[in-house]
């Protein structure tokens, strides 16, 4: 603080300035927030899927929050292949059991963790998924094995409502 006494004018200056700044900031917020997901988007945040028609070795892709979600009923060979991998071989180490609540069903967001393309199913060197954009290889558990992608394919929140129905989100 300087030795100058605090005057009435200093007080008015600072309070006016503070109120103006706070007012301006609160006015700017609606203009920023209007671009966030709106109520109609949030209302579509969860998707229920009937699993009955899917046979072992078959995959379906459903849309959840505008993104593709892969649901694959894995064959026993794929499951054993996924469980047999040593964690040391993985760039993003994760047990298969941590990725599939029920080993038969693999549910994951079908977006390559590199730059957002959709990987092709049952392709690539590890018999899992292969991203055509920049060549990332995923295994039968959707884990990254080779290529530029940094992490495994994302597992969304989901629950089994009963044996034949899951709810994503």
């Amino acid at each position: 603080m300087s030795d100058k006494p605090v005057t009435r004018r200093n007080f008015l200056y600072i309070t006016t300035g503070t109120f103006t700044a706070a007012g301006a900031a609160s006015l700017v917020w609606p203009f920023v927030d209007q671009m966030n997901p709106d109520a109609s988007v949030k209302a579509l945040a969860s998707t229920e899927v009937d699993l009955k028609p899917i046979v072992p070795g078959q995959s379906i892709t459903v849309l959840w929050r505008g993104k593709p979600v892969f649901i694959r009923r894995r064959t026993p060979e794929e499951i054993s292949e996924a469980k047999a991998v040593s964690l040391d071989e993985l760039p993003d180490p994760q047990e298969d059991a941590a990725r599939a609540k029920n080993p038969e069903w693999l549910v994951m967001v079908g977006i390559c963790t590199h730059l957002g393309c959709i990987p092709l199913g049952q392709k690539g060197e590890y018999n899992g998924w292969f991203c055509p954009c920049h060549g990332s290889h995923y295994d039968t558990s959707g884990r990254i094995r080779k290529g530029p992608a940094p992490t495994n394919l994302e597992i969304p929140d989901y629950v089994f409502l009963n044996d034949n129905t899951i709810k994503i989100g």
């Binding site: 917020w29 609606p30 203009f31 927030d33 209007q34 671009m35 966030n36 709106d38 109520a39 109609s40 988007v41």
Partner: protein
């Protein structure tokens, strides 16, 4: 205060030497010499600039959510009101902002008429202003069509049908405007495009308006010429920056009052019913700011005549600097004009009242009388007053009217203070 901008920072200096943009803005906002006696009616220029910027910003944001298609437009506006974060606030600011924009522009124009601001050497400022007003009318009308409610649809139908009054080519012109044989999706989409474009044209004209204003400088309540840099002027900053800001704050209080407490007061409930091409609402009225011109349109029992008169009511404003033959600017020194100009304002408001009534019986007769008076003011009263009116003597400076008798004597004796 210096007349040129001297940047403090090295970057500012580097920039200003290559592009003296800061210099230009500084010159127009800081030392610009302004008459020292401007009253609060002179704050509406700043308020109007604020209105324009507010409309552009809120409009830009609304356009991110709006869909300009006849099947989707109404639903997309409801989507903005219900789903989009703060969408209700942004739309209410935009809708009420349009009304307040017109309130401010009418006060701004009335001030110019009362104090004779449109007279030599400021004719061009006034004419640019008339063009801004025209663009505002077009923009507001097209904006009102976009929500695609009943009033939007039938307002668009009535106004575009005005063009069908043109002899011979009328029908082809309206079909061209519509992109079809009735008001529909093609019209809605092109109105959206033009509604988006026009505010930027207005913005460009506003720059010309201010540029033209800063050549002769502001008129003032006394209506006399002041010498720039004399004792009659003060720098724009801080004197009028603070005065304008204070007026803006008061204006914002009224604005917020509309937006938060009565957001639909100035609108029409029928516009919350989706457009129905098979049914016209029982009583169709334009937005309040068009009512005087609407009354003039309805006053004439002839299709083409009504349209011509309504267009003339606005076009005649551009000729005001020459229709008013008096050399004295301010109504303060024109005893007759002062009464007539108030009568003109009252008559225009009365026309607005009539525009909201059913066009029948007494209302129609009064509408015709008021319409005749509206034009008589411009083509009979104003030209004549310049010759028959005995004006009061004008003061020599802005200080003179407020000085006491003794102070005047001191000045007259040549003493310096």
């Amino acid at each position: 205060m210096s007349d040129t901008y001297v940047p403090k920072s090295a970057v500012g200096k580097w920039f200003n030497e290559r592009l003296p943009l800061l210099d230009l803005i500084y010159g127009h906002l800081m030392p610009y010499p302004t008459p020292k006696n401007l009253n609060y009616f002179w704050t509406f220029g700043g308020i109007l600039t604020f209105c324009l910027v507010t409309q552009i910003i809120t409009g830009l944001v609304l356009a991110m959510h709006y869909v300009a298609d006849a099947d989707l437009a109404f639903a997309s506006v409801e989507h903005i009101m219900r789903d989009v974060n703060y969408g209700w606030l942004l739309r209410y600011i935009h809708a009420n902002g349009a009304s307040l924009f017109f309130m401010a522009v009418y006060i701004h124009m009335a001030r110019s008429m009362f104090y004779g601001s449109y007279k030599e050497p400021r004719e061009l400022i006034w004419i640019i202003g008339v063009f801004i007003f025209l663009l505002m009318i077009a923009t507001a009308f097209m904006g009102y069509v976009l929500p695609w409610g009943q009033m939007s649809f039938w307002g668009a139908t009535v106004i575009t049908n005005l063009f069908s009054a043109i002899p011979i080519v009328g029908e082809s012109v309206t079909n061209w405007l519509w992109g079809g044989y009735a008001v529909g999706s093609p019209l809605l989409t092109r109105f959206f495009t033009l509604h988006y474009l026009m505010p930027f044209l207005i913005f460009a004209l506003v720059i010309l308006h201010v540029w033209a204003l800063h050549v002769p400088g502001n008129n003032n309540p006394e209506g006399i010429d002041v010498v720039k840099g004399s004792q009659d002027t003060v720098p724009f900053h801080p004197h009028y920056v603070v005065k304008d800001l204070f007026a803006l704050v008061v204006f914002l209080i009224i604005f917020a009052g509309f937006v938060f407490f009565v957001p639909n007061l100035l609108g029409h409930t029928d516009n919350y019913i989706q457009a129905n091409p098979l049914q016209t609402p029982e009583h169709i009225v334009p937005e309040w700011y068009f009512l005087p011109f609407y009354a003039i349109l309805r006053a004439v029992p002839d299709k083409l005549g009504g349209v011509i008169l309504m267009v003339s009511a606005i076009a005649i404003l551009a000729f005001l600097p020459w229709l008013d033959t008096s050399k004295v600017r301010s109504a303060k020194y024109r005893p007759l004009y002062k009464q007539f100009v108030w009568l003109f304002f009252a008559n225009t408001i009365f026309l607005g009242y009539l525009g909201a009534q059913v066009a029948d019986g007494m209302y129609l007769i009064m509408g015709r009388i008021a319409t005749v008076y509206y034009f008589a003011h411009f083509v009979i009263i104003l030209p004549l007053l310049g010759y028959i009116e005995k004006t009061k003597p004008l003061p020599k400076s802005l200080s003179e009217p407020v000085l006491s008798k003794e102070e005047k004597e001191i000045i007259a004796s040549g003493a310096t203070t």
